[in-house]
Amino acid sequence: MAAAVACRQKGIEDILLIERGAYLGGILNQCIHDGFGLEKFHASLTGPEYAQRYIEQVIEKDIPFLLNSTVLNLTPQKEVIVINDKGLHHYKAKTIILAMGCRERTRGAIGIPGARPSGIYTAGVAQELINLKNYMIGKKVVILGSGDIGLIMARRLILEGAEVLMVAEKLPYSSGLPRNINQCLYDFDIPLLLSHTAVDIKGNGRLSGVTIAQLGKRGGVIPGTKRRIACDTLLLSVGLIPENELSRQAGIILDPVTGGPQVDERGQTSIPGIFACGNVLQVHDIVDNVSLEAEYIVEGVVEYLEGRLTKEREIKVELGEGLRYVVPQRLISRKDTIFSFRVNQPGQHKVLLFEEGRRLIKKKSLRRVNPAEMVRVKLSSLELEGIKRLKVRLV
């Protein structure tokens, strides 16, 4: 919606928003907690309120949208095949903006051994069942992974009358935002066990217990630390993966680290005229940044439509030490560019360096870095002017 609204604001007339769900706003509808919109709207909104601000703009700007409509196919020629209960439809577009969001990593993907009973949910599914469908998923809950949705769900489950026994996190630090650790765990005295993971699952019908063990420095289980926790529910909050099945189908090149398309500074993928923004490009921790990213890439969309998105000398953004990834992965112009990063591990008093060979282009001090928090840095066209190489690293 943010991209569609921005497109309309930039004067693009012919827009179609395709949504497979029954309503606009996607996952925000089930994120009924607050804390959204601090940057964008200078207010602490809940997910549905945040979504509503955009829904109103979509309606006010008369942007056509399809609900309950699934894209079956996306071609490099920017044709989409959509189905809904009215039939199967073809749309040909001059540009396409991918904004499909992300999905949750599952038990299968992280390989927790043991039995396969019912009662194992990803945090987002639990959130949907509880917050949108009025179901309760269990009584005694263990949460694996300290991602934000897991933390939010710990609080939700407590407020809805369940017992949350613990949150176990494989890494020696939490992958959630400090705010959520404070308000979702500490407020309710839920223990957060760092360097712990699930090593076995019991239960024939319904889940009856989870075995938790402590991990050593190299990731192996420390002998003697296994303990069986009796519970009927295991919630997984073990990471999000950009939902790029359509992108892959179209032949768009993906970045193996972000899981999203490789893009230039305007969010343009390897197929000219197809752009990506939001969680389909890289998993964000703050929704405001998703909106801002959408608005930002629309500038490129407009340039593309007007034939102004020209390629100067294309360069790859090289990734140095301390950083897990950078978006964009390449630059085609030298215009103002926002770079997004995630660091490898938590640290203090770090410096982010942008370099052309041995020449320092920009330096940014970061007092505290955390893999849970995306770092965004803007470089101006002045700073980028004429560069032939670009490397970023964290020291």
């Binding site: 949108l132 400090p178 955390n370």
Partner: protein, 128 residues
């Protein structure tokens, strides 16, 4: 008593450690600005939170309407308010921002809807 806080006022996420007795603060370490100090003081003396949750809706296009308290409430009431929301029911339509319950627990806690619910005529509602 001793407690460690991660300040949430700004992205600096200062780790602040506090020595205190009841609501009487003896020593604060690790804060980098007055805002962090205020945050920790409030956390010890009177921690406030916005409650968010959902309430059952009759004849709505969603089975639930999401709600929040109109202002932050003392932390110790969160669970009680949660219990109340599980026992309430409102009738569709509901407007965003509409007050759906007033003066909970006699503590001037109001619940307001955070989404819009349209009225529909469902004959075979799953919840009826």
């Amino acid at each position: 008593m001793h407690r460690e806080f991660i300040c949430i006022v700004c992205p600096n996420s200062c780790h602040i450690s506090v020595e205190y007795e009841g609501t009487n603060i003896k020593d604060i370490k690790g804060d980098q600005c007055p805002k962090g100090r205020d945050y920790v003081k409030n956390e010890i003396t009177n921690p406030l939170r916005v409650f968010t949750g959902s309430v059952l809706v009759e004849n709505g296009d969603f089975p639930l309407v999401s709600v929040k308290t109109s202002s932050p409430i003392p932390k110790q009431y969160l669970k009680k308010v949660g219990e109340i929301t599980r026992q309430m029911k409102v009738e569709a339509p509901v407007e965003l921002g509409q007050i759906v319950a007033r003066n909970l627990l006699n503590k001037k806690i109001d619940l307001i809807a955070t989404r819009k619910i349209k009225k529909i005529n469902k004959k075979n509602s799953l919840l009826s």
